[in-house]
Symmetry: C2
Subunit: 348 residues, 2 copies
């Protein structure tokens, strides 16, 4: 409850301590408690949001590094609150598009209450017959990433063979299901038996393997795809990419969504088999979801229907409490999460 | 002259000795003299060609390696005549499409006389107001490679910035000129001062540099492209590709035509900056010319006109005599050739 005199409330926050080299650690982030006004400043057009769910996403690692020119995201500011996708409820609004009580998703702070000074970047939540946390995943950035990455970048055709790495993650589990819905043969890889079981039994992948148990990744892929791979949805990079290149079919396509195996290395692993791009006439295309925001409405209508019809399922790994957010985020890089990693801050 | 009794002539040949590891050497090929009939076998549909020009092309290195699954060309057979593109004159024909005296280009042997058992793969030469050797280069495979690689793979737009490596070679010099004709800003690199001068003064590149004199390739590219590279026409691979990735613009395109810096390495260099594919949403596409044979007629009409109007020039490095062919081929891999490497066998 707000202090009647000051209009302020305690506001727990996760502060970014300093730029990170190598693997991030929990104490690169500091749990603290500030006080914040829960009224928007007079004369502003801002919106005050109470955060309900926060999203842990691999791209956030990039924002923890010192600024460098080739990054596609801005680095976090040491001493400031961590920023990422989340779901929240509008508490106060000076913006004509939003009013108190509205549910929204978009970029917010890792704290209980956030003041959105550019509310245009928030999306009002249209459908609430699904878990609200879905707007950090299947109905949010990872969902649109999977959708455009597969349908726009991979040029899939019915009957083609599709390989997805990090396949039980926020994006991978959806890519596999989109590919199955299109009539493709889909194989995924993940890092534990539990995840491999999910791929086969929950998400309907045709086959799956635990990459940590394979001595020779190229041989594992050859076993799963004796005729080769038409489409690779790349989430990991490094030696996995090298193994895939050897197993691609002629005119294959690789959508490069992320390279999570490389994010914490100070020296990136070399990829040695790029000659396959020529010999097999492979197209390799990087992409990021913000370039496809205009496709969100059509994506949402399609996928909400899939969810309602149970044609697509979604697995989340929910950490409870803001103080769990740093370890949840860091866990992504050792594969601790089973499914989309979310942090629950408040239920409403 | 043929022996009247046997119908045979002496036929000088270059024989492929055995599979090559690392850099090829002259004595991986053997100069010899056989005798060959200069009549096509009765009952066949073959064509007997007197070879006039032979083409030395980097892809031939791949055919010298032991067969492996990822190659796009068949390996040469040890003990057999080297095979490659060439220009010749039909001496005898049992095929309805060809008659004695016809000039043709296509796949032939490294010898004075070749029996083409699949003459469908030969192209009858339509225009003879240009040097016949051009059909090994600007009007042959390298020409079509440059044309489709630039126009079909790079999606160029007027005003874009284009970088070409191995830019004075058979393909590179044309890519640069096609790009200039389209109104792009074009920079090339090559390995000697003489070649750099050619790029700037003969082919009309906006700028050029000698990559061997640059300590830091990424810095050299930054100097030439302060705003970044829209299109990279990749002929070399390895550390050049790494430097380019750092200097690409958002939504840049890379046509992967060849990776000549890697062809003689037993262990391919690693490419470390592939994260740029994601951050800059780069499309990287391998291609080979045989996939675009159907475009040859339109290509020929366009480029013959460019040549006649002197809108495009072409520089060849002509070695005289079949016995020079092995050293000419090997010279490609140390950059000895200035322009397209051709071997003159006979003038008519």
């Amino acid at each position: 409850m707000a202090d009647d005199r000051t209009g302020e409330v305690p506001n727990k926050q996760i502060i970014f301590k300093d730029y990170v080299t190598g693997f991030p650690k929990e104490d690169d982030m500091v749990f603290t408690c500030a006080t914040s006004k829960i009224k928007v400043p007079e004369g502003s057009k801002s919106v005050l949001v109470k955060n309900l769910y926060l999203s842990c996403d691999p791209y956030m690692r990039g924002r923890m590094s010192k600024p460098y020119s080739a990054s596609y995201t801005n680095s976090y500011t040491p001493g400031s609150v961590i920023v990422g996708y989340g779901v929240g409820k509008v508490v106060d609004s000076a913006h004509p598009n939003f009013k108190a009580g509205d549910l929204v998703w978009g970029i917010t702070g890792w704290e209980e209450y956030s003041l959105a000074s550019m509310p245009e970047a928030l999306v009002k939540i249209k459908y609430t017959d699904v878990p609200l946390s879905y707007y950090t995943g299947i109905l949010g950035m990872p969902g649109l990433t999977a959708y455009v990455g597969f349908h726009e970048i991979c040029s899939p055709k019915k009957g083609e063979t599709v390989y997805v790495s990090a396949a039980s993650g926020a994006v991978g589990q959806l890519v596999g299901q989109f590919a199955k819905l299109m009539g493709c043969y889909v194989v995924g890889s993940a890092g534990t038996k539990e995840k491999v079981d999910l791929l086969k039994n929950k998400f309907g992948f045709d086959d799956a393997f635990n990459y940590k148990e394979e001595q020779d990744l190229a041989a594992a892929l050859k076993r799963c795809f004796p005729e080769g791979i038409d489409i690779y949805f790349e989430n990991v990079g490094g030696r996995m990419l090298d193994a895939v290149l050897l197993n691609m079919k002629v005119h294959g396509r690789i959508a490069v969504c992320g390279l999570i195996s490389q994010y914490n290395l100070t020296q990136q692993e070399g990829v040695h088999n790029l000659f396959c791009l020529v010999t097999k006439r492979i197209r390799m295309q990087g992409f990021i979801e913000p370039d496809y925001k205009h496709m969100y409405p059509q994506f949402l209508e399609l996928v909400i229907q899939y969810i309602r019809e149970k044609k697509i399922v979604y697995v989340e790994d929910v950490a409870e409490g803001l103080e769990k957010a740093p370890s949840a985020l860091i866990g992504l890089f050792s594969g601790n999460n089973v499914g989309k990693q979310v942090v629950l801050i408040a239920r409403d």
